[in-house]
């Protein structure tokens, strides 16, 4: 039994929402919803064992696509439709990447199916100058940010490390596999932006397993102490490879923010509008100089950890089926249709748009040759040591052609 004094979650949501209300008003419409405890159990992965008084995630659209009340997240109808188009593109490409991996066109690939709303909704709330620090499963974030998908997938093609060719121009840091290490990079960037007096924030994406790492805790504390304009965006997808949430943590992740001194919010990660609204509020807090926010987006990884993983070894078909019923794209499609914001023709257009676009991406990937052999050495140093240069030259000479 958790004592009542620990039930700070709704208060923090309210605080976040109130703050937004003071500034631009996005959160004001979330506030009543967030505190009504609506439909919360639907999005808690392990509802049977969840301790009481954990607040339900912020939710604007129920899993059946009905809205819980009147709200305005501040997007016009075109923006609202764009969210669906991006999620459909993302899912279509994600599935294509799994196929491309099977065909040997990509190396091991981490699918994100089920997490489209968490990724697209949060990325859509960012401004042009804001900087994304992804982990390795954020292709949908990259798509929503306009990162060139072929460039991004060169990483999974095994052509280069990192991700987009120019992280600074793309405001998208290299794909980061060492778990949680990107969080402190995001904090450093945010501190740098603050020292520059820039009106920009950073966002670090990570999973609930990453939140067990020291870099999560160091990053959260540093962000709080420096009041850095950074959003710590946790996609709690229930599984860290084969380790379930209740073997990862004994307390809700969003609540950790309380210990560092900034707001933590739990949001239904399969509700794209709720994710957008909560992230937008956190972005506005950051821009206003109020420091970091921790967002825990409760979602689910429908696929395996990577194409090398066999998820049937550690979780049941029934569990996956339950989460398929909460599909973020289907939910949002129903919502748009029900609210009269889109029609079936638009949805069909999204499908054909995704099909055509993914065809272009596939062609782009398949046409990529291997990089020149010199790239083993090319980018390690700006001013290479003599021993390094000599080793490189010998290697290139051995290849028999000096420019490889």
């Amino acid at each position: 039994m958790i004592p009542a004094r620990f039930s700070t979650g709704p208060g923090q949501v309210a605080q976040l929402a109130e703050h937004a209300a003071e500034n631009r008003g996005v959160g004001s419409s979330i506030l009543p919803l967030a505190t009504q405890h609506m439909n919360g159990a639907d999005a808690v992965p392990d509802e049977e064992s969840s301790p009481p008084l954990i607040p339900p995630p912020v939710q604007l659209v129920a899993p059946d696509g009905t809205s819980a009340g009147d709200f305005d997240v501040g997007l016009d109808p075109e923006g609202l439709r764009e969210l669906l188009r991006l999620m459909i593109r993302a899912r279509r490409l994600d599935r294509e990447c799994c196929s491309l991996q099977c065909e040997g066109e990509l190396t091991v690939y981490p699918p994100f199916e089920g997490q489209e709303a968490a990724q697209v909704g949060s990325a859509f709330a960012l401004g042009a100058d804001d900087f994304v620090f992804p982990s390795f499963r954020e292709l949908a974030v990259a798509i929503a940010r306009g990162v060139d998908a072929v460039e991004y997938l060169r990483y999974h093609r095994g052509n280069w490390h990192g991700g987009p060719y120019d992280p600074i121009a793309n405001r998208f840091a290299p794909i980061c596999v060492p778990v949680a290490t990107q969080i402190v990079h995001a904090v450093g960037w945010a501190l740098g932006a603050k020292l520059d007096g820039k009106d920009a924030c950073s966002i670090a994406y990570f999973g609930e397993g990453s939140a067990s790492e020291g870099d999560f805790h160091e990053g959260a504390n540093l962000a709080a102490v420096f009041r850095a304009p950074v959003i710590l965006f946790c996609q709690n997808n229930g599984w860290a490879i084969s380790v379930p949430l209740d073997e990862q943590t004994a307390a809700p992740i969003f609540r950790r923010a309380d210990g560092y001194g900034f707001p933590g919010v739990r949001v239904d990660g399969n509700d794209v509008l709720a994710v957008y609204a909560v992230t937008k509020t956190a972005v506005e807090r950051a821009r206003a100089g109020d420091g970091p926010t921790l967002i825990e987006a409760v979602t689910y990884r429908i696929g395996p950890h990577t194409t090398s993983d066999d998820a049937t070894r550690y979780r049941s078909e029934e569990e996956v089926a339950r989460w398929r019923e909460r599909d973020p794209i289907e939910r949002y499609r129903r919502y748009l249709l029900g609210a009269g914001l889109a029609d079936e023709a638009f949805v069909a257009d999204c499908g054909s748009d995704a099909e055509e676009w993914v065809g272009e991406v596939r062609a782009g990937i398949s046409s990529l040759g291997a990089p020149p052999a010199s790239e083993v050495f090319d980018f390690v140093f700006a001013e290479p040591p003599a021993t390094f240069a000599r080793e490189r030259d010998r290697f290139l000479d051995d290849l028999g052609h000096g420019d490889a």
């Binding site: 900087f131 620090f133 280069w160 490390h161 990192g162 060719y165 120019d166 992280p167 600074i168 840091a173 290299p174 060492p178 290490t181 969080i183 402190v184 990079h185 995001a186 904090v187 450093g188 960037w189 945010a190 501190l191 740098g192 932006a193 020292l195 520059d196 950073s202 020291g214 870099d215 160091e218 990053g219 504390n221 540093l222 102490v225 790239e375 090319d378 980018f379 390690v380 140093f381 700006a382 001013e383 040591p385 003599a386 021993t387 390094f388």
Partner: protein
């Protein structure tokens, strides 16, 4: 050494402090941060007065979070800053190794050169100060083994100034290992960056009997040993490497060509210490010129011992002299 009362003199702490002050003054993108670097000026006072002079936005304390400190360097560099971070002590820098190895060293390569990492991480290092455990570590092998880093180790105040100034100006990440036991040693002369670059070793004493190659605090002991051996008719050529990456293989090789013999000295444990790399390089470059095996005088393959035992662990002048005598009198 002669002492000229008209010449300025500097401790290594003062020389390093001057290099940091000038970097802050000359480049508004430089930042200094770490544990206790603010009002206190760091445990060893290397950053003394800098926060007062340049303000709390340019020079600031951090929480005790070494991984976070190193990781923030990456983010700040991405945002266009030139971070100069201080790790409080060698033994406390290990939590930062994940960030240093996985990101500080690799970020340039991981971004195909689009995100340069002009980062300096200073680590007060090595033993000889009668310190508690974890205060006498020699972390250089972990770092020199990591592609993408430069590893610099000064041995004297004036060169510490030059090397730190050059490290801050370097476009690549530099791990700057400061020998704590040399912090308060004084040297006379002018502070200048003119002189040998990073990657160029200094020959501090000429001789044809044997090359004695070292870095950091052990350089002084090698010079003492050379002085004693000169009295026995053995003139040693003493080489201060100054940086381990880049490693000045040319000067090492030249020294073997000039003497036919080499003794490598460091306080790090023997196994896979820098002396192993140096001996291998000598084999590759100057095997036919060797009159004797390359000898190593190093710390032992033990944890750094408690204060009252550290004199046994650290290479002593006696041990260095013994190795040189063995080398010089080697019979095939």
């Amino acid at each position: 050494m002669t002492w000229d009362t008209a010449m300025p003199e500097f401790t290594m702490v003062a020389a390093l402090n001057a290099a940091l002050r000038e970097a802050l003054a000359n480049d508004p993108r430089t930042l200094i941060f770490g544990e206790d670097v603010g009002e206190l000026g760091g445990l060893f006072r290397v950053t003394e007065g800098l926060q007062r002079e340049f303000g709390r936005e340019r020079v600031f304390n951090t929480p005790i979070a070494e991984s976070g400190i190193a990781g923030m360097c990456v983010g700040l560099a991405l945002a266009g800053w030139r971070p100069i971070a201080e790790m409080q002590l060698d033994g406390f820098s290990y939590p930062a190794l994940d960030q240093i190895i996985s990101h500080v060293a690799k970020y340039r390569e991981r971004t195909r050169g689009r995100a340069p990492m002009p980062i300096v991480i200073r680590i007060p290092s090595f033993g000889g100060i009668r310190g508690k455990e974890h205060h006498g570590e020699s972390p250089e092998t972990y770092l020199a083994h990591t592609a993408g880093l430069k590893v610099v180790v000064p041995s004297s105040p004036l060169d510490a100034y030059r090397l730190l100034s050059l490290s801050i100006a370097d476009p690549d990440p530099v791990i700057f290992l400061e020998p704590k036991v040399r912090y308060s040693v004084k040297e006379q002369g002018e502070l200048t960056v003119e002189g040998p670059a990073i990657g160029t070793a200094r020959v501090l004493r000429e001789g044809s009997a044997c090359a004695v190659i070292s870095y950091g605090a052990m350089v002084e002991r090698c010079l003492e040993a050379a002085e004693r051996l000169a009295g026995e008719g053995m003139e040693c050529r003493v080489v201060d490497l100054r940086s381990l990456v880049p490693l000045d293989v040319e000067t090492i090789t030249d020294s073997v060509l000039a003497t036919g013999r080499a003794v490598v000295v460091h306080e790090a444990p023997r196994t896979l210490g820098m002396s192993a790399e140096i001996a291998a390089r000598i084999m590759e470059e100057a095997f036919d010129h060797l009159e004797a095996p390359v000898m190593r005088v190093t710390g032992f393959d033990t944890p750094y011992p408690p204060a009252s035992l550290e004199q046994y662990y650290l290479p002593s002048v006696d041990r260095i002299c013994g190795a040189v005598r063995t080398t010089v009198t080697w019979v095939r």
